[in-house]
């Protein structure tokens, strides 16, 4: 499927690093299957979005400089997250627009940064992932991926090649799940109302699994489903595309 090897820097994201390493390994497998040589710089930490969205522009810039330094030499930067990829791709150029020393570098890294499924489908032209996964899955589009990066068809296209998987759309597919980074701890009641609407929508599809491309949304949705005693399994899309059914779902499988 892929012609010549390309060097990809995996921006694993802090949530995946801390909470769900299996997403990182699934991402590595998918990238290697797509003919990429995967590098994981050990100086990477956080893309700076929590600081950026809290109004701490200087902290966000410091963290941005760290990411740019760690990743500028790769052909591509790939993150298993629409939110972190959008931070680098869409917001770094704005963050450094008034900083002559950084503006060009930020733009160059931004232009080669992709969310995982869009990198596989749009850049590497992957048509089939050759995986097997028995599930009926509802797909949740994360807001950043959907609206900032135009990620909608790519995960569905790739999931269609997974044997044994049926994908269902949500009735309100473009509604936010209420995670919103620090929003969910600053305004927990509103966040809870939003995730309650989201999990009702998920439950109404009759799916036994819910998938998304962002771990923030997934932890929020899983946390709510489990608190409500639901059996629906919550997984990152990368795990399913990589055929990883051995790792227990997010927040565990049992009630």
């Amino acid at each position: 499927m892929a012609d010549s090897p390309v060097n990809v820097g995996l921006f694993v994201t802090c949530l995946v690093d801390l909470f769900r390493p299996s997403v990182g390994f699934a991402t590595v497998k998918l990238l290697e299957d797509a003919g990429c040589i995967v590098h994981v710089p050990d100086t990477q930490t956080c893309c700076g979005q929590p600081a950026y969205n809290s109004g701490s522009r200087n902290d966000a810039k410091d963290l941005g400089r760290n990411v740019i330094a760690a990743f500028q030499d790769f052909d591509y930067v790939v993150a298993p997250s629409g939110s972190c990829a959008a931070m680098i791709r869409e917001h770094y150029p704005r963050l450094f627009a008034d900083d002559p020393a950084m503006a060009d570098k930020a733009k160059r890294v931004a232009d080669k940064t992709f969310e995982l499924t869009s990198f596989l489908a749009d850049v590497r032209k992957v048509t089939s992932v050759g995986a097997k996964f028995n599930a009926v899955a509802a797909y949740h589009d994360s807001c950043s991926g959907l609206r900032e990066l135009g990620v909608r068809e790519q995960p569905r296209y790739l999931l269609a090649s997974v044997e044994g998987l049926e994908v269902k759309d949500l009735e309100k597919g473009d509604a936010c799940c209420g995670f919103g980074g620090t929003f969910c701890v600053k305004y927990p009641e509103i966040s809870d109302e939003m995730v309650t609407r989201k999990t009702s929508d998920i439950t109404a599809t009759g799916a036994d699994t819910v998938l998304a491309g962002d771990l923030g949304c997934l932890m929020n949705i899983a946390g709510k489903l489990k608190r409500d005693g639901s059996n629906i399994a919550v997984r990152h899309v990368a795990e399913v595309l990589a055929g990883d059914d051995g790792t227990p779902p997010i927040a565990g499988g049992e009630r």
């Binding site: 909470f19 109004g55 902290d59 760290n66 919103g180 946390g223 565990g252």
Partner: protein, 474 residues
């Protein structure tokens, strides 16, 4: 209107427990948003029209003084008068003086958010001029003594039952002693009572969706025709508008009108689009004896020169709130000032200060739907983020939040400490999660764990596992 935005969290909390409100808000989400999507799918050039609309508004903002002066000149030529008001107080005083000049006892009012901004109704009432709202939604909330909760559906927070109760309570004095519960009967009852008010009123006050510089016309859109009766029957018509409502030509009005109703209610056009140009002429069959435009600045000329100037492109369609998950959850009153929803969160701090309005730009997940649906492509999330930056820089952001962000940023800026810190945290949380792999209660994360479990980490970070599997060089 006295700002209560500082109390957003409590107000939101109450709103979330109000079953009537939740029932009413459901209509915003399904009705308005669904209708908009359908209307836009029928107009392939909609997104090109958005670009045209943006270009018109940006051109006006670059030449605001020119078009306002031209507008005034045309109003004078057609027999009217423009009153330039810098502050809400000046606008109120001007309107009262105009009302007194015709010995007004009552005035009818069309819907106007600027009238809310300057708190016109209580002021007129205190000074002996009784204002009567004629837009059905505004009429309902006037009876309920509440501010609007939505810029195009002021009473959208009310259920039919609540409206039925209000009418039953307030209409007895007109001999309406039977409680109506049918929607059409309720509308008819209000219409019957308002009919006499139109005839009795000495002054009619309306807002304006546009002020057209080439003709000196003011434009309103309504679905009830109440604006027409408000402005044509009394002796005097007062238009109250903020200065960014000016646009160059009729053609421009027609471009933006094609965006407005579709974005607002999903209609192709509002039922009534009314152009007012000067007072009644000698050969006119009807119309007001005099025509006044009260032009309010209230900080807008300063805003026009600031980095947030794009806010002045707003055409008050309400699409942002109709698509906002936070608005859907808490409704408009929780925002605590005149403009609710995303546009209010971005605009209100300019009027009431970031200290008072601190919560509004923060209570957003940056989901981006508002910017997506805004016909004027106002980058609302970016403007909200700028408010967060201003709050952070001026120490309005609470210390605990500053500390949390600072601590995380410090750790993330020091990868070696970050590795050790995350390794320990992940191990600890994993132990707490146990066999169930989730945590039901966690200190400092009480907001989350009150209603949700926290998924527990696997026990080792990805970085540690990766280094172990592939060695440091990989």
């Amino acid at each position: 209107m006295k700002a209560t935005a500082h109390d957003f969290k409590n107000a939101a909390s109450k709103a979330l427990k109000d079953d009537n409100l939740r029932q009413a808000l459901h209509r915003v989400e399904t009705g308005f948003a669904g209708n908009r999507a359908a209307a836009i799918s029928r107009l392939p050039e909609f997104h090109d029209l958005r670009d045209e609309g943006v270009a018109i508004k940006m051109h006006v903002l670059d030449h605001l003084d020119y078009y306002l002066e031209r507008f005034e000149q045309k109003v004078i030529e057609t027999g009217g008068q423009v009153h330039w008001c810098t502050t809400p107080k000046e606008a109120r005083d001007t309107i009262l003086e105009l009302c007194r000049s015709v010995d007004a006892k009552t005035c009818t009012k069309g819907k106007s958010m600027i009238a809310e901004e300057i708190a016109l109704n209580p002021f007129l009432e205190e000074n002996g001029v009784l204002p009567i709202e004629t837009d059905l939604g505004e009429y309902i909330i006037q009876l309920a003594d509440e501010p609007p909760s939505h810029i195009i559906g002021p009473a959208v927070h009310k259920t039919k039952d609540q409206i039925s109760d209000l009418f039953f309570e307030h209409h007895q004095k007109y001999g309406k002693t039977e409680r109506q519960s049918d929607g059409r009967m309720l509308v008819n009852e209000a219409r019957e009572i308002l009919r006499q008010k139109y005839i009795d009123a000495d002054v009619g006050i309306t807002g304006a969706n546009f002020l057209i510089a080439e003709t000196g016309s003011t434009v309103i859109v309504t679905n009830e025709g109440n604006g027409d009766l408000t402005q044509s029957l009394p002796k005097m018509h007062i238009v109250i508008a903020s200065l960014e409502k000016v646009i160059p030509t009729m053609e421009d009005a027609s471009t933006i009108l094609r965006l407005l109703a579709r974005s607002a209610t999903g209609q192709e056009f509002s039922v009534y689009t009314t152009f007012s140009t000067g007072p009644r002429r000698d050969d006119d069959l009807d119309g007001p004896g005099s025509f006044h435009v009260v032009l309010l600045d209230n900080g807008r000329s300063k805003l026009a020169g600031s980095e947030d100037r794009e806010l002045l492109r707003c055409i008050r369609c309400g699409a942002c709130m109709n698509h906002c998950p936070v608005y859907h959850a808490v409704g408009g009153h929780a925002y605590g000032w005149v403009y609710p929803g995303p546009i209010g969160a971005a605009l209100d701090p300019h009027f009431i200060g970031i200290e008072e309005a601190r919560h509004l730009p923060n209570a957003s997940t940056f989901c981006g739907r508002c910017e997506d649906v805004c016909p004027m492509r106002i980058p609302l999330p970016s403007i909200l983020r700028r408010w967060r930056e201003r709050a952070f820089e001026s120490n309005v952001t609470p210390p605990a939040e500053r500390f949390g962000v600072g601590a995380w940023a410090w750790l993330a800026k020091h990868p070696a400490f970050y590795r050790v810190g995350t390794r320990l945290a992940v191990r600890g949380l994993s132990l707490l999660g146990g066999r169930r792999k989730r945590i039901a209660k966690l200190p400092l994360a009480g907001g989350w764990t009150a209603t949700r479990d926290l998924p527990a980490p696997a026990g080792q970070t990805f970085q540690d596992q990766w280094r172990r599997q592939r060695g440091r060089s990989a």
